[in-house]
Assembly symmetry: C2
């Protein structure tokens, strides 16, 4: 991330107009958006409106924007730019990785009981046998058989913020690991060098625009391009056979709106250097404050999500909180309510959450 010198908490938080209205605790769904992010999008849209979406400079600029986003995401997760594909979402990344692995019903993939459909749907569509176990080191390792081709799981569970020991799982199983990074990248330090496939959702903890993300691929040469876009090829034959572009750019899934790319770069510039420390600190404050009155299921020292058991109908509670200008969400089918804490979260946000829950 770019280090923004001397930005204190008040300055950093003031970037986000939504905090004027809400105790916004739902970055696990969509992060807050900074004014500069929308301004960058508008500037780019105005350029395209006035000058048109064509011409030699237009395409050079867009390719440059794509490269800059690729470099920034690589730097964020300890990868090389050549290992980063630009996608629309974590779901998109999971489909690309699972499609390219060419799994069959003879193959097994181990996943956990706490995954999002963004991973589970692509797993099912892959045709492999999906083995589902508790999100625990021992249970996952015990589920590995000679037919297991992949471990597919989240770095941070979307249900309660638990962090899974991915590097240890990878090392002890000897298997490649596909990681749903939706609740991790931007929330906690992530090291893609320890993983095989890592998805990035820009619209959550990176506070980016919608419909942008990435797939980090450790070894792009070893994954088939199963869903080629125009960006997949350096050259091609009349029947579509193609020489792939070098590196993970061959997996770039779409033309992404230049406004979204420019907005994401602005969003990445809005991150203070103390982001991870403060996010962890505010998560723990939120967790311990809630634990005084509720059955909190999130352990200390995990990701930046805090979940607790609902007293009464969780959907109704979430709606009641929203009416009191506190934004959280429930986790369907688990009777949980979840608060997302970021580096932007204030003590007042947490007090307002507790006050609204009490009222």
């Amino acid at each position: 991330m770019v280090i923004v010198p001397a930005m204190d908490f008040a300055q950093a938080r003031a970037q986000f107009p939504v905090f004027d209205r809400f105790a916004y605790l739902n970055a696990g769904t969509f992060g807050p958006v900074a004014r500069a992010t929308v301004e960058a999008m508008e500037e780019r849209q105005r350029r395209d409106l006035e000058l048109g979406r064509s011409g030699p400079d237009f395409f050079l600029e867009v390719m440059h924007l794509r490269d800059r986003v690729r470099e920034r995401i690589a730097a964020l997760v300890g990868a090389e730019p050549a290992q980063v594909a630009l996608t629309c979402s974590t779901t998109d990344g999971c489909n690309i990785a699972l499609g390219g692995l060419d799994l069959s019903s003879e193959d097994e993939v181990v996943t956990t009981t706490a995954e999002h459909f963004g991973l589970l749907g692509p797993l099912h569509a892959s045709g492999a046998r999906i083995v589902v176990v508790d999100p625990e080191l021992d249970a996952i390792l015990a589920a590995v058989t000679p037919r297991t081709r992949l471990l597919a799981l989240s770095q941070v569970l979307w249900t309660d913020g638990r962090v899974l020991p991915l590097a240890e799982l990878r090392e002890r199983s000897g298997l490649p690991v596909l990681v749903d990074g939706a609740q991790a990248v931007g929330a906690i330090p992530v090291n893609a060098a320890e993983l095989d496939f890592l998805t990035v959702s820009a619209q959550k903890w990176l506070c980016g625009p919608d419909t942008v993300g990435a797939l980090v691929v450790r070894d792009p040469e070893r994954l088939r391009v199963a869903q080629p876009s125009y960006f997949a090829q350096k050259s091609f034959q009349p029947d579509g056979e193609f020489e792939p572009r070098p590196g993970a750019a061959r997996f770039d899934s779409q033309w992404i709106s230049p406004a979204a790319l420019a907005g994401l770069l602005a969003a990445l510039d809005s991150v203070p250097e103390w982001s991870y420390e403060r996010a962890a600190e505010m998560t723990e404050r939120c967790r311990s404050a809630l634990a005084e009155r509720f059955d909190v299921v999130s352990a200390p020292g995990q990701g930046t999500l805090v979940s607790w058991r609902a007293e009464g109908d969780p959907t109704r509670t979430v709606r009641r909180l929203f009416e009191r200008a506190v934004v959280v969400r429930d986790i369907p089918g688990r009777n949980l309510i979840r608060a997302s804490c970021g580096w932007w979260t204030s003590e007042d946000d947490i007090e307002r959450l507790l006050g609204a829950l009490a009222g």
Copy 2:
């Protein structure tokens, strides 16, 4: 399309600021953007900036936007809304359709020598044997064997605007037809009822925002969901097995930025009722004017693209025209230059093209 009463040509054209600077003749790559389209995007982005991207109304509004776009695209191509999936692009739609057909190397697909990589790449990735023939009725029908599972081709060829006789091909071959509609939808009347799979690119002839499109699926129940997104399912099991949503919405590939959805609705509202007639008329004017001086390869009465053989290096010619504020493109490897004419094209645009070519 919504019929805008009493919008004359000057009013319709005045919606697009790019025409103040350029003879913009490249809608086959990206259409011009109307001021109202960008304003609708900005309004939506400002809403998300101020109010956040969460809360019960937010998701209802987005689902409503998705439904409205689905209805409008359905109406545009003579389909039912339940036959329309929202995608990011034509490439996305081709990957969804071809992935779901589960083709193998035993299967054959017939395509033509004039297709875009947006179709050819997904065809190659499908694993089927791809049979490439001239874009002629007889050649296509002659290439059909007992192993042929699909015809995959464009309604309007991106190289020169030729219209292929899809309904006749479908009827005479008895095969399903996957249609790249990128150069057709919005440019000429399209009837999806005669086709099996039709892709829509919103950013070209519909003058919509980037990264929005559709896939029209005649019989959604008969295509496997090969790349599920969250929108694919009505309910799901722990291993990802899911009950699909009704209709083609199960193929919705991504969360699409609400700003892009709002922008596309505004773009569709900017279309005058006389759009197809005027686009055809201006295409013919452009074609016949160019034919007086150049070797035009586009026949009369086809789509809205006019291509002619370059005299000298086509890339250099296109750049020279751009410097004279005339925007066209070249077709790589074919020594062609292509002008795109729309309902917004003026006689002055055509004169400027001819003048710049002469200079």
